[in-house]
């Protein structure tokens, strides 16, 4: 942290020096990143849900996905997850200025747990931009919350070809770690392009953090708060996909599929292949608190 602060203050000094130089007319340069830089600026807000109106999530932005995945043809939602998603207020409610997605341990429709999963499909979809949410996460073995994006053509172009951008995933038994990933043809599930971000002196379950991606035509940057921890480009993905011999028969392996509108998903899964089931120490209910979701575009 100290080192980073030092770099920051050095940058400020540099800027101050440059500004001083400009004022004396020696060098003409700006401190602002211009459009030739790889960091895109997304300043125009295109969607925001501050979760200020008590009740169910705003139905003009969100719909629920209900069940255990069987109706969608993917029992256990493709990962052997244990929860049954409902639209009951017990599992998803807006109150106290935030959205609460609550995972409960209860027998319901043949499942041992209930939770909720809301999606913005057909209600808010966007290509490129900054997608961010301020979230306090649940905790405990078996909890698997996520804030993620899915390509809006999965019906015609089945996953993973339609693309997935996981802005934030987290496992409740690693309360200091989140990870950001992209999935697509030849790089998905266990072979997704993914990176962990670990807090050094804090946890994700006892305070809010901002999770964001900045997605431009040839780059997806992943942020926790103001820290950039991963930058994915078509080259990154091509390299990753080329490493897998399983991809030799795929003609689209490593294709960059992040060039169409995506929609937002927020959910708390319980159990499943990645986290494993809850154990005796897992405390229920568990809640993911979402203070806001905001999306920006470039213009």
């Amino acid at each position: 942290m100290n080192l980073k602060n030092k770099i920051k203050s050095n940058a400020i000094q540099l800027c101050a020096t440059l500004v001083a130089m400009i004022t004396v007319g020696v060098v003409v340069i700006s401190c602002n990143p211009d459009d030739t830089q790889i960091v895109a600026n997304f300043n125009t807000i295109t969607m925001q849900d501050e979760f200020d109106i008590d009740g169910a999530p705003n139905s003009s932005l969100w719909t629920f996905e209900i069940g255990d995945g069987t109706a969608q043809g993917i029992p256990g939602w493709g990962n052997n997850e244990l929860q049954y998603y409902t639209d009951r207020p017990e599992n998803a409610v807006v109150e106290d200025g935030m959205l609460k997605i609550v995972a409960r341990q209860e027998a319901f429709e043949g499942s041992g747990y209930t939770s909720a999963r809301i999606i913005s499909q057909n209600l808010f979809e966007q290509q490129y931009g900054r997608f961010e949410a301020r979230i306090k996460l649940p905790w405990g073995q078996g909890l698997w919350p996520a804030f993620w994006l899915l390509g809006n053509d999965c019906a015609e172009n089945p996953w993973p070809n339609c693309g997935e951008i996981d802005v934030m995933e987290y496992l409740g038994d690693e309360p200091t770690v989140i990870f950001g990933s992209v999935h697509g043809p030849g790089y998905n599930a266990g072979d997704s392009v993914s990176k962990k971000y670990e807090l050094q002196n804090a946890r994700f379950d006892d305070e809010f953090h901002i999770f964001g991606v900045e997605w431009s035509p040839n780059r997806i940057n992943f942020y926790v708060d103001d820290e950039l921890y991963q930058s994915i480009t078509p080259e990154t993905i091509a390299d990753e996909a080329a490493e897998s011999i399983d991809n030799s028969l795929l003609d689209n392996a490593g294709d960059w599929v992040f060039n169409r509108p995506f929609f937002i998903i927020m959910n708390v899964a319980v159990g499943g292949n990645l986290p494993g089931p809850p154990n005796a120490d897992t405390v229920f209910p568990q809640t993911m608190y979402v203070d806001y979701v905001r999306v920006y575009s470039a213009d």
Partner: protein, 471 residues
């Protein structure tokens, strides 16, 4: 209860008025005053002790079996640097003492640990043994803010251990830097060695989800006479560690802020000692003791009912118990029952499995010297049962009391409880008149109580067994 609420409403405005006056009188410290602060040195042992007493290691009393010889440093083993602490755990039969343990103390007036959230260290064992206790806060003087973790599993490679500080704001001047106690319970009596290195207080920031408990996290009830005292027990603090695992420590009462719901019945001091002050007012003779730790409400409570009774207690956490021979007589060959007294989350109970019949004996079996009890002047038996399985109406528990047990003059009486009076997995209290034990014609030397279920109830817990009479 309503009546009491009204009383509080009257009292609170008065308190408010007093507070205002007192605030008005309050004066700040003069700028000339230096408030005493103590060094906040984090390190306890790196390659050498840091700021500890010249003794470094102060052993527990050899008179209680502590072996003062197995402690030293080792220049051939270190997690970091050159040197670690080496502890040779003796065998139980070692003539110099059957276990090893003691404390490290700050050499000064104590340290300010308010800026840290954990004691951390690295340890490794010569074998995968389990260390009995590790902690801090014991200084052999007051042990006011002692914290300990039990059953620390060693690995044969270095591993980091974290002991959370329940409420660091209390530790403004702490002398007790480290404590350990180790025996060979986990190695069947075989001696072993373990090493400790890099002992220090740290501000990790990665401990979360604080969960303090009193009374083992349960809502417990008990009766107590006016002017007697009952300790709050089962004090633990659980935090979730950076690897997602819970870490539970034992904490002394001074970390907690206790509160009574009814000052007319009971008060509680900072050491968690509940004193029954009176019979209550307005017919309310109960007080519930709750606690917070660092502002977090503790799970569990103790509700005390103020009574005026004469008691002879066989098994209870509230009254002083008479000595007994056993809580399971193991009558062979016909008895199948297993179990006996256990600690269930800080609450001492008796727990039986495979029950057909079982005896609690207090007559002096095998010339133990235990005396039977004279309950001639007492009127009732209090007892609590929890059936740890499904209860059927046809189930039963026959309780028999035996006077002059094993003597030619033995007499006994039986009282029967049916399944309809019991609940599955819930405690049920019984106050049984001793006159209901038909056949118990004398009770000046009651020395055995027998519980017979004939297997109708195989899993049974029992608590709070005492004879009493209302005064």
């Amino acid at each position: 209860m309503k009546k009491f609420n009204l009383k509080y409403h009257i009292v609170f405005p008065l308190l408010g008025a007093i507070c205002i006056v007192m605030v008005g009188c309050e004066r700040g410290f003069s700028d000339d005053v230096d408030l005493a602060t103590f060094p906040n040195t984090p390190d306890i042992f790196t390659d050498a002790p840091v700021g500890l007493t010249d003794e470094f290691f102060e052993s527990f009393d050899p008179a209680v079996g502590a072996n003062p010889n197995g402690f030293g440093t080792d220049d051939n083993e270190a997690f970091e640097g050159t040197t670690s602490i080496r502890i040779d755990v003796p065998t139980p039969t070692d003539p110099d003492g059957g276990f090893i343990g003691g404390i490290f103390r700050d050499r000064g007036e104590g340290r300010d640990l308010t800026g840290y959230d954990a004691l951390t260290f690295y340890a490794k064992g010569s074998t995968t043994a389990t260390i009995g206790t590790i902690g801090f806060g014991s200084d052999f003087e007051r042990d006011r803010y002692a914290v300990s973790v039990n059953d620390i599993e060693l690995s044969t490679d270095w591993r980091k251990y974290i002991i959370p500080i329940p409420d660091p704001s209390k530790l403004v001047q702490e002398k007790g830097m480290f404590l350990f106690s180790a025996g060979t319970e986990s190695t069947n009596g075989a001696g072993y060695t373990f090493w400790i290195d890099e002992i220090r207080f740290e501000n990790l920031g990665t401990l979360g989800q604080p969960r303090p408990k009193i009374m083992g996290g349960q809502d417990q009830m008990g009766q107590a006479n006016v002017d007697t005292s009952v300790p709050i027990i089962g004090l633990t603090y659980t935090a979730n560690g950076p690897n997602g695992s819970d870490i539970t420590v034992n904490a002394t009462p001074s970390y907690y802020d206790f509160e009574t719901s009814n000052p007319f019945v009971a008060s509680v001091d900072e050491f968690g000692l509940v004193t029954v002050d009176g019979p209550g007012e307005g017919g309310n003779n109960t007080a519930t003791i709750t606690a917070t730790l660092g502002g977090v409400p503790a799970e569990g409570s103790l509700t005390i009912e103020a009574v005026n009774i004469e008691v002879i207690s066989i098994f209870s956490d509230v009254f002083a118990n008479v000595p007994v021979d056993n809580y399971n007589g193991f009558y062979e060959p016909f008895q199948t029952t297993l179990g006996g007294a256990v600690n269930e989350n800080g609450n001492n109970i008796i727990d039986y499995t495979m029950l057909n019949f079982v005896a609690i004996e207090y007559y002096g079996r095998d010339n133990s010297g235990v005396q039977p009890v004279d309950i001639t002047d007492l009127t009732h038996l209090h007892i609590e049962f929890r059936v740890n399985e499904t209860v059927d109406a046809s189930d039963f528990i026959n309780i028999s009391l035996h006077n002059n047990f094993t003597q030619p003059s033995e007499v006994s009486g039986v009282f029967s409880i049916s399944g309809a009076e019991l609940l599955s997995n819930e405690w049920v209290e019984f106050d049984i008149p001793l006159s209901s034990f038909a056949g118990l014609t004398a009770r000046d030397a009651v020395g055995m109580m027998l519980f017979v279920t004939d297997g109708t109830i195989a899993n049974l817990s029992i608590d709070n067994i005492y004879y009493y009479a209302e005064n």
